[in-house]
Amino acid sequence: MALLASASLPARAADCVAWPGEPKPLPQVEDRDPLRARWAVLRARELVLRARDLETHAPQAAHLAWRRALCLDPADIRALAGAMRTLPLRLHRPAIRIESEVPPAAPDTDVWAALDTPVSIALRPGAAATRGQGEVSRSGIPPIIEAPVRAESLRRVDRSIAAAETQAEAARFDEALESVARARAGLAALPAGRDLAARWLRVEIVAATAEAARGRSDEARACLARVLAIEPDFAFDAQSTSPKMMRLLDAARAQPGAAR
């Protein structure tokens, strides 16, 4: 899932200046002044009600109200979820999966949520690739990745994963996430195979680490949910893993539908 700016939603300083009539500086629910804290609690409650009122009919106004509620209570998960739901501009990066058979669409799926789900493309046995010829038939040419090409693709993916791990260890988390993106794109372009699972696992673990280090707990949890989808019994080494990562893994495991 790639919702634009989701990580930077809570309580950005530029967003959280007091509006006309509001106390300055804008209080938060943990303000040391009990009355300002009380105001923040009540105001957040009011904004949540308003956001819910507006969400169906005026999602942009609802988005603003959710964000405002986050300014007052940055730890409010409901407000974060609401702000994410109503983002006026969202970016989705579904993985592209080449599969021997395209699975049927799940019934009753929320089409908006499904914009993030991987796009499966059928691999048709016997179809010929015309890569480099610049022509695509009207029915669409299934991509065939021949063995040498696949091996080279895997080497590139491995280099990206190794780079991501090194960068994460060196606390260069943004670079690590860029390497993760390259690795994911490389993996997504490869036909599914048993040799890919371990690579996906490494990618998602390093992505979770980098996202958590950047303070993007939701993204980190989503990565760990994918880890659990690959390896349901996955566990961190408690001695060498931060309590935060342990908690995120527990949270990912506790999500509805999580692999157990």
Partner: protein, 309 residues
């Protein structure tokens, strides 16, 4: 004369009873409202949402090592989305790359379908699209904005773009997106491939261009001398706007009256000489139930040199 003297005495005594209390050394007070929304507004009337799909199937999607996958993925993702929308949702699909040629062409509208399975038919059409030309995503979005604006449908439109964000034909994607957002539309970019999104997209999200919900205005107040005697006309010591401005007034017991709805009477409280009493009122009339809470604190006023306050 005796009658006149007695009358004068009665008049003097009466006026003495209604005279203001003797002036005490001054105190100060500030009153501040910490307001909530003035009122809970009714949500706007619902209007049907319309969806505009802009599908980039330009020839550039098949360029590069992952080109075939991107093209197929764009078609597949768009078809999946269209097929999943209820047939009751108003839908238009525009495509970029279906006009043959080497120049950058405009987007073209796929013929809308009506009735049952209309979206399934559109989805099938999408799956068979093949690129024959090029076009600018930014220009296509700007054109789409114009179309929606002329139809008066911007505020209730969701625009979904399937693209690899190729910029072969140029155009300012940031401005195009911003114009759509400013007009109230919502935008979803489904990016196939690993092209970076323009950095401006993050800034567009943070813009506060939407209407702010008004909070309660600071009400007027008046401070009257506290006198519990029945039938007494309140003697007003000070009046003002409850915006935290400090006000000097005689020390002594007072009641504070705030022009809220319903009005608030706070007190009695004793204003001591040489002190500042800071009163704050939390007022949320739009909550159910409404909330009104107050507190006050008293601080010594700084003593100026020479003993004067």
């Amino acid at each position: 004369m005796r009658g006149f003297a007695r009358g004068l005495l009665v008049a003097l005594l009466a006026s003495a009873c209604q005279a203001p209390p003797p002036l005490a050394p001054p105190a100060e007070i500030s009153i501040e409202i910490l307001p909530g929304l003035a009122a809970r507004e009714a949500p706007p009337e619902p209007e049907p949402e319309r969806v505009e799909v802009l599908l980039d199937v330009t020839t550039s999607l098949r360029d590069g090592p992952a080109g075939v996958e991107k093209l197929l993925a764009a078609r597949t993702a768009a078809a999946r989305f269209v097929r999943g929308l209820p047939d009751t949702t108003a839908l238009n699909v525009r495509t970029l790359g279906l006009i043959p040629g080497r120049s950058c062409e405009t987007a073209s509208l796929l013929a809308p379908r009506r009735g049952a399975h209309a979206h399934a038919a559109l989805a099938a059409q999408i799956e068979s699209l093949a690129p024959v030309g090029e076009g600018s995503l930014a220009v296509a979005l700007a054109e789409l904005r114009g179309v929606l604006a002329s139809a008066g449908s911007l505020e209730h439109s969701r625009v979904v773009v399937f693209s690899d964000l190729g910029s072969e034909c140029g155009g300012d994607l940031c401005t195009a997106a911003e114009l759509l957002l400013d007009a109230g539309a919502r935008l979803d970019f489904v990016v196939l491939g690993d092209a970076k999104a323009p950095a401006c997209f993050g800034a567009l999200v943070s813009s506060e261009r939407w209407r702010q919900a008004p909070v309660l205005d600071a009400p007027d107040y008046r401070i009257v001398a506290y006198d519990p005697s029945p039938g007494r006309v309140p003697f007003v010591l000070a009046e003002g706007r409850a915006n935290a401005t400090r006000q000097r007034l005689p020390a002594g017991p007072v009641m504070v009256e705030l022009g809220l709805d319903p009005p608030a009477r706070i007190g009695p409280l004793v204003l001591s000489p040489g002190t500042l009493t800071r009163m704050r009122v939390v007022e949320f009339p739009a909550l159910q139930p409404p909330v009104r809470e107050w507190t006050w604190t008293t601080l010594p006023l700084p003593v100026k040199e020479g003993g004067a306050q």
